[in-house]
Point group: C2
C-alpha cells in the first residue's frame, strides 16, 4: 500500500505495475487485457455498424453454425439469455439473420445468417483477426501458442462459470 501524498513521482505505469504484482495479479492483468481490447472493439463496432458487441459475436456464432438455437449461443458467448434474444432481434430487424421455428420443439428458434449477414461476418472476422494480431503482437509465435493453450485450459475448467467461494446465501 503506497501513499501518493508522500511520493508525487508515482506514475501510472507504477500503479499498473503495483496492481499487476498484487494478490489478484492474474485477475487484474487478464481483465485489463480483455477490458482494454473491448473498449477499442466495442467503440468501433458501435460507430461503424451501429450495434452492440454482443450482436456481432452472436452473428459470428450463427454464421459458424447455421440452424443453431438461440439458447445454444450462450454456450459460446456467456451472456444472459435476454441479451442474446435482443441481439437476435436486432440482427433480424437489420436483415442480417433470420429465425425459423424448430421442427422438433415449437418453442425453439433455429437461426440462420442472410447473405447480407454472411457478408458482414466475413468483413468483421477479417478486421477482428487483424485487431487480434495487434494486441497479440508482443508475443512470439511460440508464446502465442502457449498463451492459447493455457487460456484454453482455463476456459475448459470446471469452476469458470460456477463458484463455491462466492455464494450469495
Amino acid at each position: 500500500m503506497k501513499s501518493i501524498a508522500e511520493d508525487e513521482t508515482l506514475s501510472t505505469n507504477d500503479y499498473r505495475a503495483s496492481i499487476f504484482a498484487g494478490k489478484l495479479k492474474e485477475l487484474m492483468v487478464i481483465s485489463y487485457v480483455v477490458l482494454g481490447n473491448n473498449v477499442v472493439t466495442g467503440r468501433f463496432i458501435e460507430k461503424r455498424y451501429r450495434m452492440p458487441i454482443q450482436a456481432w459475436s452472436s452473428l459470428y456464432v450463427v454464421r459458424e453454425f447455421p440452424g443453431i438455437r438461440a439458447k445454444e449461443i450462450r454456450e459460446v458467448i456467456p451472456r444472459p439469455q435476454n441479451t442474446i434474444s435482443r441481439a437476435v432481434s436486432l440482427l433480424e430487424a437489420r436483415g442480417y439473420l433470420r429465425q425459423e421455428v424448430s421442427e422438433t420443439d415449437g418453442r425453439e428458434k433455429c437461426l440462420y445468417v442472410t447473405p447480407a449477414g454472411a457478408k458482414l461476418v466475413d468483413e468483421l472476422v477479417e478486421i477482428s483477426r487483424l485487431r487480434q494480431e495487434e494486441w497479440l503482437a508482443p508475443l512470439t509465435p511460440e508464446e502465442r501458442k502457449m498463451f492459447y493453450q493455457l487460456s484454453r485450459k482455463i476456459a475448459e475448467g470446471q469452476k469458470l462459470l460456477t463458484t463455491e467461494v462466492m455464494s450469495v446465501d
Copy 2:
C-alpha cells in the same frame, strides 16, 4: 462452417471447441474466460454488496494508492472517466471512500478509503483471491506463472488500447 440441420448430435462442447479453434481463437477463448468469470463475480458483488463491479475495482485501487486522483484510476481499470466518477460517488455515499480537493489542482479529487472501505476491500480481496484460485485451478503452478507472464506481456503491449486496423473514419 457446420450445419446443424444435417447433424443433430452436435453438442455445446463441440460449438465451443469449434469456435475456440477458429480464426479468432485467442480472442474467443480469453474473452470467454474473462466474461465467464465476470458473470459470476458481478452477480455476487451486485447481490452481496449492492454495487456494480466497477465500484469494487475502483475501491480496490484507491485502497492500494491512498490519495490517488480519480482520473488516475483509469490507468489501471480501463473504464470511461464518467464510469469512475459514478463509482466514486456511490462509494462516497456509502461511506467507503472520501474525497478531498487536491492542494495542487483545484479540479482534482484525491481519494482515500474510510475504515469501513478498508474493511470491505480486505474482505473482497480475500474472496476474490479464492475465486481466482477457482478459475485458475486447471493450471499447474508452472503453467500459472507462464500464463501470468504472457498476459503481462500483452497488457504492456503498445497496441492494446489503441488501434490502426479498427479505424472509424
